[in-house]
């Protein structure tokens, strides 16, 4: 029987910190990225070899989008966009490795059923991970809005509608819209990755349910694993590009009000970013 728990399973505790299997997934992703960064630091050169080019590829690709959309301040928030993308991508792809979600301890739950508690779980299949990233993204675009617009200017933009008499109606909508970004970012990623986990578990269960189905146990999950690789990439891109869009919008509000920072040629265009992504 397929059992995928919504909440990440707790493995052990270090003092007050309870370590879950999704934390292990996040730590593994962190280790992979830090290892890559350490290797790059020592081995990179102006003329790249294949491995260096492979590592530079996503950053160069994203930097093209961020540079084209973010205007003059793109370098300030580009690392956040790169970091979100790479972290989610590596975490998603690591979850497709054999053993992730399938090797663990068999325990009995409160209903007396035997369940598998895997040692490693897809990091993004835990709302703590996606919510944490969404909160960071939220704080970042508010901070960039403050920085570009000033605290008063940003709050004025947020709380006072145009025309002013529409404020009682529009301000709550505006606030909800801003706050909903946390929910939309976190739940989209969590939902997609968790659904992918469920889908894969279901496919494994279905294809291994009977002896006659066993030949399908190789081919069918392989198709879905390929799709999950694609979805993992798309979800990482969507999260990163939406974070970038929110930040550029926060900066753009400042520009639209005619400040010293106004550069008509470098107006941010979230649509252009998404078009670039689609291309």
């Amino acid at each position: 029987m397929v059992h995928v728990q919504i909440a990440a399973e707790e493995l052990f505790a270090i003092g007050p910190i309870v370590i879950t299997n999704s934390m292990i997934g996040a730590l593994l992703a962190s280790a992979v990225l830090l290892f890559a960064a350490a290797w790059f630091r020592g081995a990179s050169s102006l003329v790249p070899n294949r491995r260096q080019a492979l590592l530079e590829l996503p950053i160069e690709f994203l930097s093209g989008i961020v540079r084209g959309t973010g205007g003059k301040r793109w370098r300030q928030f580009a690392p956040l966009v790169f970091g979100i993308f790479l972290f989610i991508l590596v975490a998603n792809w690591l979850s497709l490795f054999p053993g992730v979600g399938t090797i663990g301890l068999v325990e009995t739950n409160e209903h007396g059923e035997e369940i598998l508690v895997p040692f490693v779980r897809a990091a993004a299949a835990d709302l703590n991970f996606t919510l944490g990233l969404a909160l960071i993204s939220f704080v970042a675009f508010i901070a960039f809005g403050f920085r570009a617009n000033g605290v008063r200017g940003y709050l004025h933009e947020l709380l006072i509608a145009e025309p002013v008499y529409m404020t009682p109606l529009l301000t709550p909508i505006h606030l909800i819209s801003e706050l909903s970004r946390i929910i939309s970012l976190s739940m989209r990623l969590f939902g997609n990755v968790f659904a992918g986990e469920v889908l894969l578990a279901t496919m494994f269960s279905l294809t291994t349910a009977a002896l006659v189905m066993l030949p399908l146990a190789v081919t069918v999950p392989a198709v879905f694993l390929g799709l999950e690789m694609l979805f993992g990439l798309v979800q990482a891109l969507v999260f990163a590009l939406l974070s970038m869009t929110y930040i550029t919008l926060a900066i753009a509000e400042h520009r639209q009000h005619g400040s010293d920072d106004h550069h008509p040629g470098s107006e941010p265009d979230p649509e252009a970013a998404l078009a670039n992504f689609a291309a």
């Binding site: 790059f40 630091r41 370098r75 690392p79 790169f82 944490g132």
Partner: protein, 171 residues
């Protein structure tokens, strides 16, 4: 709160994920992103400079080619002028040599002719003397008379003067 409980969200786990990500982001930014961005900038600068240098080199090459062609054309013109000058000088020298040779030849011819004439005149004079002597001998033998020398010589000279060719006639 029940919603968060259902999804296993709690503050400590959330804080762990946030801190973990921020730490990784800091290290990645320091050791990877900034390095990659600086490499990209460096490459763009180098490529731009390379293209600019290539354009400058092409311009210089074109300029050098034009200069070389101009120098070649000048050298060719100068060479042709030198050849023309040399030809002219050679022709002048040839003409001068020819003229000198002709003059020398004419002088030598004239000199030879004068010598021949002098020789002929001398021979004629000598011959006349011998003829006169022979005539005197013959006459003395014929008339068997003796005459003094100067009278005889005067008679012979008068005879020869009468028989000598007129000036302007050819001998």
């Amino acid at each position: 709160m029940a919603f968060f409980e259902a999804f296993g969200v709690d503050f400590v786990k959330l804080a762990f994920q946030v801190i973990n990500f921020l730490l990784v982001l800091y290290l990645l930014n320091r050791f990877l992103f900034q390095r990659v961005l600086s490499l990209i900038d460096e490459r763009q600068t180098k490529i731009s400079k390379g293209l600019e240098d290539a354009e400058t080199a092409a311009r210089d090459r074109e300029l050098a080619r034009a200069e070389r062609e101009a120098a070649l054309a000048e050298a060719r013109t100068e060479g042709q002028a030198m050849v023309a000058r040399s030809t002219k000088a050679a022709e002048a020298a040839r003409d001068e040599i020819l003229a000198t040779a002709k003059a020398e030849s004419a002088r030598m011819t004239e000199q030879a002719r004068a010598e021949i004439v002098a020789e002929r005149d001398r021979a004629i004079a000598e011959l006349r003397g011998q003829v006169a002597d022979l005539a005197l001998d013959a006459a003395s033998q014929l008339v068997r008379s003796t005459m003094d020398g100067p009278t005889q010589r005067k008679l012979v000279a008068d005879f020869l003067a009468e028989t000598a060719p007129k000036p302007g006639s050819k001998n």
